[in-house]
């Protein structure tokens, strides 16, 4: 039971990550290969506030969200100066630099990471695993509602215009700078939420939990599911959480299988399993 609850929690956290990256990459079209950095900022903020100031999870969580949104706005600034491939590489760089900062600066706990992060509690009652899973699920649904809302409101339309053509978007009245930064802010804030949940669930974090390969994994979730859609981000996150578990007997080949899947998807199904342009989704929606 505990095993399944843990998987459920991971699924929730990964879904939030996928949904949040989807705003930056899927809606706004800003290739970000460093999303784990934002996740890490959220986790570290929450962990450090909780351990150093002794505040509860319920204070640390919103603080982490605000902090990550702020850092997201700053780290999103390069997207105003550099584009596409330059941005892709810059975001890889940001991931490395953020991770190295956590790892080599004493304040962040150095190589030992941060331990003793309190598990969430209400009054004197420590949440049970099931309660934590429920809470994570609620946050996940909330994140889904937020990202869905972003996608169907005016901001979503503006973001998609920026993704397709910045010049045409600005000629249509879209303030490209503002929209890009907003995408980074909203996306980072949600990643901060995921980070905080992760930190208080694990109760122990190190810099290596937020390395570049994780960024690729998150990106893979939205690409495999179907980029730019809420359903795709969910499906991708769930698949990439469960698959490694299913492959556990083949632990030695896990990464290889995963990497080959990634290649095959890009080669033969780049629109994802249930993206707007995927065969499966077109069939499903035509019948309905």
């Amino acid at each position: 039971m505990n095993y399944y609850l843990t998987i459920l929690i991971y699924m929730g956290i990964n879904s939030i990550l996928a949904l949040s990256l989807n705003i930056i990459v899927g809606y706004a079209g800003q290739i970000s290969l460093g999303h784990a950095a934002f996740y890490g900022v959220g986790a570290y903020t929450s962990a450090l506030i909780a351990t150093k100031l002794g505040v509860s999870f319920w204070v640390a969580l919103p603080a982490a969200i605000v902090m990550t949104a702020f850092i997201g706005a700053i780290l999103g600034l390069p997207s105003l100066r550099v584009s596409e491939d330059f941005l892709a590489i810059t975001t890889i760089g940001i991931n490395f630099v953020v991770q190295a900062t956590f790892k080599y600066v004493k304040f962040f706990g150095g190589a030992l990471g941060v331990s003793g992060i309190p598990f969430p509690s209400i009054g004197h009652h420590n949440l049970s695993l099931a309660e934590f899973a429920l809470m994570t699920t609620i946050f996940t649904v909330l994140a889904a509602i937020i990202t869905y809302w972003v996608s169907v409101s005016w901001i979503g339309l503006g973001l998609k215009a920026v993704r397709e053509d910045e010049l045409a978007a600005s000629s249509s009245g879209v303030n490209v700078y503002k929209f890009k930064v907003l995408a980074f802010i909203i996306g980072s804030a949600l990643a901060g939420l995921a980070g905080s949940l992760y930190a208080h669930f694990m109760m122990f974090i190190t810099a290596d939990d937020f390395s570049f390969p994780l960024s690729i994994t998150i990106l893979s979730m939205i690409v495999i599911g179907g980029i730019g859609t809420v359903r795709g981000a969910f499906l991708g996150a769930i698949l990439l959480t469960i698959l490694p578990e299913l492959f556990r007997p083949l632990a030695n080949y896990r990464m290889l299988v995963y990497a080959i899947l990634l290649i095959l998807f890009m080669r033969f199904l780049p629109e994802g399993l249930i993206g707007d342009e995927s065969i499966l989704w077109k069939k499903l929606t035509r019948k309905a």
């Binding site: 809302w149 972003v150 169907v152 409101s153 005016w154 901001i155 339309l157 503006g158 998609k160 215009a161 397709e164 053509d165 010049l167 045409a168 978007a169 600005s170 000629s171 249509s172 009245g173 879209v174 303030n175 490209v176 503002k178 929209f179 907003l182 707007d276 342009e277």
Partner: protein, 256 residues
């Protein structure tokens, strides 16, 4: 009431200069656009026509000179602000939002007021907005394709989509950059009809075009740009016979 005076100036470009590295694309260009008129802007390849549009639309900021829209300085404003003020444009090389449907393309522009500030950003488009978008698509004859992904449209349809997108800004001025380029004869006729219709609605229009022939029945006044300078101005007939214009076009496929 305001429209009563045919001769009132709506846009004034004064001595605009723009340089790209070693190329002086505009060498002090002055153009006046009157309310409700269609102005033709012609000139050979590389004359600076698109650059002038880009300066008016805020894509580039002139190195020198001023641009006044209804008496207000706009030469330092970014494109989205200028679009919001009521100057819309189309692109010489069409720039649709490729993966969005035709109606969504128009919706993007239709939402321009909601992109200002933060309050309306998170509101959803309403039924009125869709109806307005459909109206605009009807104006350009694309209502039958509203759910088509815009990447699937023909060039002629894309040019009309760009006009619908421009109109969605509810503009007072519309800048059309070679709306006929690459079109077949029967499509040319369609575009001309559409432009005359825009004029009837009271819009002020500048059309860039290589060939004076196409502008004959549309415009009263033509400005000729060559190597970043205005070399002639007048009715299409006058301009066609102007020796400086003929000389500028020497070696080009056609003047008329």
């Amino acid at each position: 009431m305001e429209k009563a005076n045919q001769k009132s100036v709506i846009l004034e470009v004064k001595n605009v200069k723009k340089r790209f590295g070693g190329i002086q694309a505009l060498k002090g260009v002055s153009v006046t656009l009157y309310e409700g008129e269609i102005l033709g802007l012609i000139g050979p390849n590389g004359a600076g026509k698109t650059t002038l549009f880009n300066c008016i639309a805020g894509v580039y900021h002139p190195d020198e000179g001023e641009i006044l829209f209804k008496g207000k300085h706009i030469e330092k404003l970014p494109p989205n602000r200028i679009a919001g003020l009521g100057i819309a444009r189309t692109f010489q090389i069409v720039r649709p939002f490729k993966t969005l449907s035709v109606i969504k393309n128009v919706m993007v522009s239709l939402g321009h007021r909601n992109y200002v500030g933060y309050g309306r950003l998170f509101k959803r488009p309403k039924k009125d907005d869709y109806e307005r978008a459909m109206e605009l698509l009807k104006t350009v004859g694309l209502d039958g394709k509203k759910d088509e992904i815009s990447a699937n449209l023909s060039l002629g349809e894309l040019r009309r989509l760009e006009v619908a997108r421009a109109l969605a800004l509810n503009p007072e001025i519309i800048l059309l950059d070679e709306p006929y380029a690459g079109l077949r004869r029967h499509e040319e006729g369609r575009i001309s009809e559409m432009i005359l219709d825009l004029k009837k609605r009271g819009l002020s229009i500048i059309i860039v075009e290589h060939r004076v022939r196409l502008l004959m029945e549309l415009v009263e006044r033509v400005v000729v740009l060559d190597m970043g300078k205005i070399i002639a101005e007048g009715s299409p007939e006058e301009v066609k016979r102007n020796p400086r214009v003929i000389k500028a076009y020497l070696g080009e496929e056609e003047v008329a």
